[in-house]
Symmetry: C2
Subunit: 152 residues, 2 copies
């Protein structure tokens, strides 16, 4: 559990870095063989790319690092419940375990919305663990949007 | 209709190029103000990236070309029904109209599977038109997989 929390702490650090860059504070890391092989924060603004969610970037970087587009046996830690797009990408990448922080009832696609992994058209579902560093993940997002609303 | 078919013909050309590269033959183009601003074929193999579907690449290239991550007013033509990941990305990009060729009952996320645009957690749904150059799109895919199965 200490190790697991350490990986989520690394994802949270990526989320904080994203906030510092003016990006929505969501972070992710991919772990293989007990070590972090890729990390990413949300970069939709910097890359001018609606698909540049932390999970998508982390999966792409992990594939480059590992040299295989399939990340079988790897785990992904992300601070917020993945959206529908990312839930599907995680499935395509054959991620073994998904650990996420806060739930996202409005935009999530794992335990809300389309619940992708429960669909018959989902051909690989990771094991899902939620609620790790939940309050810290949610606070980061709340503070970010509150700060943006308060700016003139 | 002639114009529309011309855009789907361009998507089919991208699909044929993908096949020639040994990629699953799916192609897409993004059209804005009556002209093609981005085109892509599937590149999952070349880029070693499970997210490198034709639609994702076309959306990213269109955002770069237009200088805006939101493609409001733009239309996307793709030879196969988008998967769940791509259906969500198309929504995030605010694509106005989606035209697709063949249906994909096993992997599609528009008119099959999660039917993303009909979900309450989908915040933007494009108008959807299907069946354009349907048989040509499907034949390309069928021939590709048959050829792969027959190889020693």
């Amino acid at each position: 559990m200490v190790q697991t929390n350490g990986f989520m702490a690394a994802a949270l650090e990526e989320a904080r870095c994203a906030a510092a860059r003016g990006e929505v504070p969501i972070g992710a890391v991919v772990v293989a063989d007990g070590r972090i092989v890729a990390r990413a924060g949300n970069e939709t603004r910097a890359l001018n790319d609606v698909t540049a969610h932390a999970e998508i970037l982390a999966i792409r970087r992990a594939a480059t690092a590992i040299g295989d587009e399939r990340l079988a046996g790897a785990d992904l830690y992300v601070t917020l419940e993945p959206c529908t797009m990312c839930a599907a990408a995680i499935s395509f990448a054959r991620i073994r375990r998904l650990y996420y922080g806060a739930e996202d009832p409005k935009g999530g696609g794992v335990d809300h919305g389309v619940r992708f992994y429960a669909q018959p058209t989902c051909h690989h579902a990771p094991e899902v663990y939620s609620g790790l560093s939940e309050s810290e993940s949610a606070t980061l997002l709340r503070d970010f949007f509150q700060d943006r609303r308060e700016r003139p």
